[in-house]
Structure formats: C-alpha cells, structure tokens
C-alpha cells in the first residue's frame, strides 16, 4: 500500500526511524482485572472519539462547547484508566490507545455505533449520551469504594463529572422527547436504534466475577436497578416508552466489535501509527 501522507516533519525524524508507514501493534495480554478496567477506559475513549464528531457541528454554539466539555471529561477518565493499566503492563497510554488492534479493545458496542458523520442526528447523540452517562454514573459511584486506591481516587473525580453529564443529557432527552412532533419522532427513532445495545451494559462474564471477587469493582449486572431508576423517570417525563429488551447481545466488551469499529480505529490511530511517539 502506498502512503498518501506529505513528507514527514523534522520533529519526527529526530525520534528515530520513521521509514515505515504503519507501526506494529503492541501485544497486549491483560489479566482479567486489567481487562475489567480496560472495558471502562475503552468505553470512555471510544465514546469520546464519536462525540468529537460533533465538534463544530452542534445545533447551537453553547451546546457545541458543552459536548466538547463532555468529551474532554471522558478522555480524561480514559487517560487515567489506560495510564493505570499501562503502568502494570509496561505500556504508556498512547501505546494502549493507538497501537492496539480492534480485538484488543473492550468498549461496549454502543459507543462505537455510527455517529454524526454517518448521518446520525442530534437526538442520537443526546440519547446515547444519556444512556451512557447514567451507566457511567452508577459505575463510578460504586468504583469509589474499589479495593484499588488509585481507581477509587479516579472514580471520586469522575463521579462528579458523570453526575453533571446525566443532568445535562437528561435535560435534552426531555426537551426533545417532549418537544415538537419532529424532535419526538427523531428521539424515538434514536431510542429504538440504540436500546438493543444497552443489554450488554448489564451482562456478566468471568471478568466481572473476577473484579467483584477482588473488590476491584462491581459486576455489570449489579448496575441495572440503579440505571433503571435514573432512566425510567426521564423517559416518562419525555414521553418515551422503554423498549422491551430482545435476544440480541452486542459483544464489544469481549473484543468482538461491530463493522464500524475498524473505520473508527483507522482514523483514531492513523497519526500515531504513522508517526509513532509523536507529541503535540
């Protein structure tokens, strides 16, 4: 494959070899406890990547800044978790974010689904933000009592951020759901489209069990009741029905992603893979 990139800048050549156009992926074999944390970190990271598509495109200037602020909170949370796991596995946060292959990402599939650039509207962003913020808020509040002191500290900061994310997103869900005929139609479509992917947020597997036994963090299934308690009243106020959960299960947390993930990673990783170790 030939490269379409312009000649490499001199700052890159100072760091050593820049001849190859693609950097090798790292070999990342996390323990179950590390995988547990990567699920959360990757969910924050990939959610950020999709949210960034809204930068410069939100319906009003102030909400544009709000979505960017939200993304910056999330990337901060992702960095904290990736740095923490990286310290245990001998990688830095950039290597973990930009040099892993698709199968090594463990984010929930919900966050990688197509976003604004694929034609999804603002209602999609609002509903997605709300469902995830509610989940993250319950998760962070439980991680505050993690047996890992650093995770507890990260959670202590993140839970405040996520509480605001819930409030902000919930407000928009009600505005759009209980707004005009058009905003209601679009919001219902977004709920129908995204809801099937929420089942994965509450599944249980060996990684959840290991984390719960070690006191590192809660099993996903234990978040369900509190998540319902956040989502149900907001949906009721917005005039939205909570869809029935079908048999479909997405599998991003197991590393098996939707067809959209490869494109997302290609874009997210291209700079580091072309100019490894590049900083700005």
């Amino acid at each position: 494959m030939t490269t379409a990139f312009a000649p490499l800048p001199t700052t890159a050549s100072a760091s050593g070899s820049v001849a190859s156009t693609t950097t090798e992926s790292i070999v990342f074999a996390p323990t179950p406890l590390q995988a547990y944390l990567m699920r959360i970190g990757d969910t924050c990271l990939i959610h950020t990547q999709r949210l960034a598509e809204w930068s410069g495109h939100a319906p009003i200037l102030e909400e544009d800044i709000a979505l960017t602020n939200l993304a910056l909170d999330l990337v901060g949370q992702a960095r904290a978790l990736l740095t923490h796991v990286g310290r245990q596995t001998g990688f830095d946060e950039d290597q973990l974010a930009f040099l892993r292959n698709e199968r090594d990402f463990r984010n929930v599939t919900l966050v990688e689904l197509p976003g604004r650039r694929a034609g999804r509207d603002f209602a999609d962003a609002v509903v997605r933000n709300f469902l995830l913020a509610a989940w993250m808020n319950v998760l962070w509040s439980k991680l505050e009592s993690s047996s890992d002191a650093e995770i507890a500290a990260i959670a202590g900061k993140a839970v405040k951020e996520s509480r605001y994310h819930v409030a902000h997103a919930a407000d928009w869900v009600v505005r759009l759901g209980d707004g005009t005929d058009e905003s209601m139609r679009r919001t219902r479509q977004a709920v129908d489209r995204l809801w099937p992917y929420t089942a994965e947020l509450f599944e249980t597997d060996g990684i959840d069990t290991a984390a719960a036994e070690a006191g590192l963090g809660p099993m996903r299934v234990s978040l369900k009741a509190e998540w319902d308690a956040i989502v149900a009243p907001v949906f009721a106020e917005a005039g939205l029905n909570i869809p029935a959960t079908g048999a479909f299960r997405s599998t991003g947390t197991r590393g098996v992603h939707s067809e959209h993930m490869g494109y997302l990673l290609a874009e997210m990783q291209t700079l580091q893979r072309t100019l490894p170790g590049g900083q700005w």
Partner: protein, 107 residues
Amino acid sequence: MTASKTDIANAEAQAHEWPLWEVFVRPKAGLDHKHCGSLHAADSKMALQLAREVYTRRQEGISVWIVRSDQIVASDPADKAMLFDPMEDKVYRHPTFYELPPEVGHM
C-alpha cells in the same frame, strides 16, 4: 403608530430565536458576582447549564447568576451627559481630603 420594517424584522427574529440571557459569575466566596457575557437559551434551566459550559470551563467561578437580558432596565446612553457629567467637578465626594495618621498605613 405604525411599526417600522426593522421592528417587524426584529419581532420575527425574536419569535424564532431563544431569548438572550446575561451571565454573572462569582469567582470565589466573598467576591461579587461579575458580569461576564451573555448567551441564548430556551429557558432558565438551559441558560444555567450553558452558562456553566461556556463561562466556567477554566475554573472562573463557584456560583453563577443568570438574568433575562430583557428584564434589565438600563439607562439610555443618550442621557449619559445629563446623568453622569454633573459629578465630574464634585471631587469633595471622594474621601481624599482626610489626613490619615501614619499608623493607619495604606488604606
């Protein structure tokens, strides 16, 4: 009285636009809320959230006030001379004619 074309255009624009709000931020306890800008929002709840997003993202404050811009009663700039110029020659209203004892130091 007939409305001018500009008045009609303004009224139509307002009917489709969210109202304007003025934002006041208190930098820290003990200091006053200070006017820092304005924004458009559909209602007070949204205005408060967006004020937080736009005007406190660099730790500018610990408290925010918002006020509908059209609720502010302002003096007419054309009355500036009448209202404020007469104070120009009344320097005796400033407490600058007292002699401070040295032990008071800077005041």
